[in-house]
Symmetry: C2
Subunit: 111 residues, 2 copies
C-alpha cells in the first residue's frame, strides 16, 4: 500500500462500482481484486470498504444479499444497480477530466 489514500479520496466509490461492473461480488474479494489490479500498491482499509458499501447502498447505487455458498465465513454479495451503472459512467468521464486538469496543474512548463 504505497499510495497515500488521501490522493484517492473521492474515488473510492467509483473504484468499487467499477469492480461491480464485472459482476456481483462480496467485500473481501472485491478488495483482493483491487489489490491484484494494483500489484499490491493499493487496497482499501476494511473500515473504509464497509463504510463505502453502506454509503453506496443507501444511495441506491448498489444492492446487497446474503450468499452462503462458498468456503469460509458467510458473505454479503453486492450488485450494481442501473443507477449505479449510470453513476459509474459519469464518474469515469469525470475522472478523464480531473486527470487532464491535474496534469495541467501539477506539472510546470519548463522555463
Amino acid at each position: 500500500m504505497s499510495i497515500s489514500a488521501d490522493t484517492l479520496r473521492g474515488h473510492t466509490d467509483t473504484i468499487i462500482l467499477a469492480q461491480l461492473m464485472r459482476g456481483d461480488n462480496y467485500g473481501y474479494e472485491i478488495n483482493k481484486n483491487i489489490q491484484q489490479l494494483t500489484q499490491g500498491e493499493y487496497g482499501l482499509k476494511e473500515a473504509t470498504l464497509y463504510t463505502a458499501f453502506k454509503r453506496l447502498e443507501q444511495g441506491g447505487l448498489i444492492a446487497s444479499y446474503w450468499g452462503d455458498d462458498g468456503p469460509g465465513a458467510r458473505r454479503r454479495y453486492y450488485a450494481i444497480t442501473d443507477e449505479g451503472r449510470k453513476r459509474w459512467a459519469e464518474s469515469r468521464q469525470e475522472w478523464e477530466n480531473t486527470r487532464a486538469l491535474l496534469d495541467a496543474l501539477i506539472n510546470v512548463e519548463e522555463v
Copy 2:
C-alpha cells in the same frame, strides 16, 4: 468550478507548490492562475487556499513575506523552499503512479 473538489482532495498542496515553482506569488493571483489553467473549471475556495498556505508554511515547504507594491490591498507573497521543491518533485512522481492506478481501477475491461 465543475469539478467536485473531493476528487482533487489531497492534491491541493501539490497544486500550490507547482504554481510557486514558477516564481514567488501571492494567494489571489495563484488562485487566478489555477482558474486560468483549467479554463475556469477549477479553483480553490479561499478558505481552502489560506488553510493550505498555513499548512505548507508550518511544514517548511513555503515561506512568506509582505509585499506592498502593486495596486489593491496588501499582498502576502509566498516562495517555495528547497524542501518544497523536493516535495513537489515527489508528489509529481506519486501523481504519475496514482494516475496509472486509477486508470486501471476505474475502467473495466470489456467482457
